[in-house]
Amino acid sequence: MATDNIYLPVKTKIEDVQELARDVKLFSIVLPGGFAYQAGQFVMVSVLGAGEVPISITSTPGVSKCLELCVRAVGHVSSAINRLKAGDDILVRGPYGRPFPINGCRDTLFITGGIGIVPLRPLIHQVVNARERSPKKGTVAVVHGSRNPSEVLFMEEVSAWMDKGVNVVLTVDACDIESWKGCTGLVTEHFGKAGVDFKDCTAYLCGPHVMIQAAMRDLSLMGVPDDRIITTLEAHMKCGVGKCGHCYCGGKLICEEGPVFSLEEIKKYNIKPGVDSLAYD
């Protein structure tokens, strides 16, 4: 197979499928040969006949044996992916996009909303592991918002992070069960519980556009410098390699020059995370 064709996906196999929540599945995929990636990058996943979509990589580079992708069935193609089973063939190409930058701040704050934890998961693993090894123990905090307690993704790993000293704040939009010990309300209401030094921390965030916007504004107000507020943006993409033009925003192609952007860049290029009145689910 010719490899110089940027649009040609590579066939690989699904090793395992785990259902994490309603319509959300975690796929473990055999790593295609020569596939090297970094946290924050994405792949284009094809289901022939349905189409191709960008999916964030959620496995940790160098640690996970498989390529892990977490997919929520929202559209035509993601629903087709979610119907695949262990042992099925799957087509991928990539990895694409700019990975998360790591800088030398003492503290790290992760803010995630729902499935927004997926692209950040490898980075959290990396940061937590690095903290274990490092003598300087900066604060690592995860503020994770979900719709309701049944939809808290990666609960097992969240517990493991807590064991390793990560400050985890779980919050849900609504909850009517008594055993829930977490918070309720928006993630932005619980920044105070994170315990990080906002002046000396890097904040990584991902979630629904409304959440990203609110969280970026609040973090900025709390004194996190704009270049240390890092998010990853979602956009409609057809090629992933800067050709199709669908993710063009503010003069930047999100696939090539993103999907990871700092608030500083977002302001500079006037990249507007999607605002839409008809979107809801």
Binding site: Y7, H236, G245, Y248, G251, D276, A279
Partner: protein, 345 residues
């Protein structure tokens, strides 16, 4: 060094037949209705080199409106790369300029194999514009009405003969295929060439300075009310993008013809549609028509120059012909200029 030759017009049909003998010959031809289309030439005398800008632009031969990327079956994927040699004859200098921009886009970082195959197998023979259309404004952009480079061969109509300039080794080799019909120009030919070019330059009806417009936009002098005006008149037909020789956006779609076989195609797409940015969940980031129209102009006037050092516009005027709302590049550019002057007074 570019070489110059003279080709007697009587020898054109002979040359075209020669070109066609080993390649697919695409040339402008007049159909029964009087319209001129760029299409495969079967009868040499049907070629029409005196018409207005061709619609859509010759881009359709490099990035077709609908193109197969690959097909799949039980055996796996099979690329559909087109390698057939082809001559694009009689296209305009602005089209050549557009191809040069597309080359940077498609053949730079992340090379597009489909475009590359078509481009490599295509010889371009352009004809300089002696009589620009009323919609043309390439002069101020340096993308026409005649060029120094970019083409394989460039013809200039000198009445009873063409002056032929070579722009590449491929072009020079084409001349060498039939050397006996190409003669060395005489001093009178050069004089005629000079006069013809002068005549062409002086016959532009529209003069648009996009650099000035770019500066006005960057200075913040262009208010959103202007883009509202543009958006109100937009019919959302996509014609400006489809016809634009520089626009590159495409959509990808799968066409299954059986449970385990089918093909993946790409088709032209346009950022003027709200569905262009529609995400799987139904969210549409660019829902406002004003944002979309503004984005198109900004992309061409601000971001292309930033990224590639050239405007995303070659002044071919096709958007003016294909726009039902008459909000084409030149009209909007002149409006931006006009409003600003109005404010200054």
């Amino acid at each position: 060094m570019a070489e110059q030759y003279i080709l007697n017009k009587n020898h054109l049909s002979f040359w075209l037949r020669k070109l066609k003998s080993s390649r697919e010959l695409i040339a402008p031809m007049r159909d029964v209705s009087g319209d001129i289309v760029l299409s495969e030439l079967s009868r040499m005398h049907e070629t029409a080199l005196d018409g207005p800008a061709l619609m859509p632009s010759p881009k359709e031969y490099m990035l077709p409106q609908m193109e197969q990327l690959f097909c799949w079956s039980e055996e796996g994927l099979e690329e559909a790369i087109r390698n057939k040699p082809r001559v694009l004859f009689g296209i305009r200098p602005c089209d050549i300029s557009a191809l040069s921009i597309l080359d940077v886009f498609y053949l730079g970082k992340n090379k597009d194999a489909y475009y590359e195959a078509r481009r490599k197998n295509t010889v371009t023979i352009s004809i300089a514009c002696n009589r620009p259309d009323p919609t043309c404004f390439c002069l101020g952009l340096g993308t026409g009405p005649f060029l120094k480079t970019g083409f394989d061969l460039q013809l200039t109509d000198l009445g009873d003969r063409f002056l032929v300039e070579t722009g590449s080794e491929t072009g020079a080799a084409l001349v060498q295929e039939v050397p006996h019909i190409f003669t060395v120009p005489k001093p009178a030919d050069s004089e005629d060439l000079y006069e013809t070019r002068l005549g062409a330059q002086s016959s532009f009806e529209k003069r648009v300075n996009l650099e000035q417009v770019r500066k006005r936009i960057l200075s913040g002098a262009v208010k959103d009310s202007l883009w509202e005006w543009v958006a109100d008149r937009c019919f959302e037909c996509g014609g400006c993008v489809y016809n634009c020789p520089v626009c590159t956006c495409f959509n990808v779609l799968d066409r299954p013809h059986a449970p385990d076989s089918g093909k993946r195609m790409r088709i032209w797409d346009t950022c003027m549609f709200k569905g262009f940015t529609r995400m799987a969940g139904g969210a549409v980031p660019a829902k406002d028509k004003m944002l979309r129209t503004k984005r198109w102009f900004h992309h061409k006037l601000i971001h292309w120059p930033d990224q590639f050092g050239a405007f995303g516009c070659v002044g071919c005027g096709r958007c003016a012909i294909s726009c039902p709302g008459k909000i084409d590049m030149a009209t909007v550019a002149l409006k931006i200029k006009g409003t600003d002057q109005g404010e200054e007074k």
